[in-house]
Symmetry: C3
């Protein structure tokens, strides 16, 4: 593996095209904080698997197109080379590329719309990263969330675009929870556990979730463990609080919590008992924020995307808690190359 | 009084437990900007009075539990000692502790939920204070507002928690104002005047309001005066503009305005004619923002909490207006111990 | 012209009253970034024309009163003299002054309400400019947007104020687009093109739009060209995506895009091919954000005002893209006199 990685790095150094592919794949990997092209490739494989299993591969095509467009846009804009090379300008693009085919029908001007979204995600990334660099805090997936909210919300105003697979706007109401009794079935729990991971890319497929975990493991065992533990903790929290079993089964209470768990448990704070306790509290709170945002966005009919993860992780990262000797150094690396 | 205060300080210096109680009580007092344990104690007495008069003391228990949990969490996190000792990490917790028993039913997992909210309020405080320190502007009660919005909004998604005493989500509509004729009755005005103060802690009880004013007066006559004048000005503004008499009588147009009046008139800017005029404009505008947020939040069925106060006070504090020789020094003290 | 301008400058230097008028007119001109009293005067003429054509001149009176009140408030507060003299404290006021008569009925306490709004716009400007100075990014029209949102939203809570000429709150729904066939009529296109410019001041009148373009041209040919090209591009984008022909004809998809095009194409970034491409992308995206915000605000029944322009321009300005040798110097001038 190590010699394969070395060969790939040599290839990327010598060929512009391979370097572009390398940067794009790292962009895919950065969705879960991994600056690793193999991780990114496995994430694309997981997306393709999930898309094909759901009866169409447009989500995988959308992901690839948007990843290439976002990476290319960043290249043309001559953004910071270090951040570019580590994939920091691609991960919001690929997420826009899975979100739009998931919530819009693939007709009319769909593909042009997706290209615009992928391009805008690069400017949004740079804008938000510039603001947050003041507090040495990373933009996380907020550029994707903001861009996708605007692009999905705009669709009702345009005849050449159409929504699909999204609940209509409604005032918040108390969920019925009749199906909760099913929750203790082991097959249900296993499915919900892995779909919590797969939903990071808006895909409800346990095999995809497993592929994502493998993708994390080839780059960081710690990240893979926190993804699985985070998904399990989210599942336990959602079931304990009495969330809708259908939503839990689809992983919809898991994906933001998985990202919070990886970010706080394995990436931005160094490992310690205290870090782990804080990450657990943040993961539980992410499940609560997921329910809050589900309710808060229902009058405009928008999905939350990964906004619960973004909000909670900012709340727990901004204090730069002295949880161990050198947290600031790691945080500085996360805002790579940006002046405060 | 002064020698009692000196004895208490000596006691707090020598005993860890007394020091903890001292810090917690200062946290209670900081809801209205008073770094004073006696003020905080009187606020708790006022809460207990109001809760008992309303037929239950869960609100007072919630306030106490959340205050202790938030203070303890901040202690375990080893936050800035100066800010900690002056109660800056407790006031958002106690407010979460009165908000949740007010809007949620006390059953199922209620108490666990309240403990999570109180813990999160500490992280939210540190995060928001970190951001606002860039402009030497205090976090005010926004950590409480944000935490409580999320925790109340989430309830509809969970079968083990239930809302109570809160209007269901609805599109904004023009209020009927039939009861406005009652407004000139002196008993009505007196009740509304003091409930404007008591609603700072979400309690509609004139005696509680009077206890709060006494609590302020033992720490700062100026703060007590601005609380009363602010409540009166808010009452006059709301009645002049034609707000619903029921809402006015309950103090619901007063509490944010009271906080704005104290903050701008007695705390953050030094005393002068110009300061007082600006504080009056801000207090009047707070009443308008209260109505705006009532309307804006109705589709999601959320109370505004003290968000009108927070928004207006930020608007009027951020410019650091040169309203007198040395405003920045006072503002710097308000963001105590945080690097810009 | 040049000698007239010189005479006016001499007059403004010698007379306090003329200087006040000069500053107020520059405030009017700054709505489209022109520090030029003649531009400001022509904008007022355009507003008067449009208001009279619509059967009333209250909008023109509102604009003038609010402009005077905002300018006077800033003078009394002794804000930064350089920013004051260039009209930076007037442009949000004049916009509040056209927005309130457009959406509220002129009865009851209307005029007192408008005066409060104009005064608050000055504090909001200073607050938002203070925050954004950290990233050398201008406040744009966000102080107007925020103030007007709050003041319009509050109206439903007050019997002495009434809404008029604004759609009631409703959940977002897919627009019917039956009228789209009419779109290729040249008279329609001409009307929509110029009303895209006139709607910057919330006026739907093609002659007013033409007067505004003349007003821009006397100060900056480049700004006038980008206004016209921006409006045309917005029109083309809205029609291509299938926006409602009625809204397009009224210029409602144009005004924010016009401001984005001027800001990014003619003001904040220096001229180059790359700048122009970026400005075009931002202008197209502004049309999408306009539709998104139309949908997002419908449950609370609020107009978007120029929020789409503000959001998109911030996204594209914050990165301070290295689009040519010296962009930062221009940006620094835009945040005139404010410490970072």
């Amino acid at each position: 593996m190590s010699s394969m990685a070395a060969s790939w790095t040599r290839l990327a150094d010598s060929s512009g095209l391979v370097r572009f592919v390398d940067v794009a794949l790292r962009g895919s990997g950065q969705v879960m904080f991994q600056n690793n092209p193999l991780t990114g490739l496995l994430f694309l494989v997981g997306i393709l698997w999930g898309a094909a299993a759901a009866g169409g591969i447009q989500v995988a095509i959308g992901a690839t197109v948007a990843l290439v467009v976002a990476t290319g846009t960043a290249m043309l804009l001559e953004v910071d080379p270090g951040a570019f090379r580590s994939g920091m300008y691609g991960f919001n693009g690929i997420l826009v590329g899975v979100a739009l085919p998931t919530f819009l029908r693939i007709d009319g001007l769909f593909w042009a719309y997706l290209v615009i979204g992928a391009m805008v995600s690069v400017f949004a990334m740079d804008a938000i990263a510039t603001v947050l660099a003041s507090w040495k805090t990373p933009a996380l997936t907020f550029p994707f969330v903001l861009t996708s909210w605007l692009m999905v919300l705009a669709v009702t105003g345009f005849a050449q675009l159409r929504l699909g697979g999204i609940a209509p706007p409604a005032l918040p109401h108390v969920e019925s929870h009749a199906a909760s009794a099913a929750a203790l079935d082991p097959a249900f729990l296993m499915r919900a556990w892995f779909q919590g991971v797969s939903q990071v890319f808006l895909i409800g497929n346990a095999v995809t979730g497993a592929i994502f975990v493998v993708g994390l493991a080839v780059s960081s065992w710690r990240a893979a463990v926190f993804a699985l533990v985070g998904s399990a903790l989210a599942l336990a929290t959602a079931l304990t609080l009495g969330a809708s079993a259908t939503a839990v089964a689809s992983g919809l209470f898991g994906f933001s919590a998985v990202l919070t768990a990886i970010a706080l448990g394995a990436i931005f704070y160094p490992s310690s008992l205290r870090t782990t306790v804080v990450a657990a509290l943040a993961t539980i709170f992410t499940v609560i924020v997921q329910a809050a945002m589900n309710s808060g966005f229902s009058p405009v009919g928008l999905p939350t995307f990964t906004a619960p993860f973004v909000l909670v992780t900012w709340i727990f990262l901004l204090p730069h808690l002295k949880l161990a000797p050198v947290p600031h150094q790691r945080l500085a690396a996360a805002t790579d190359g940006r002046g405060a």
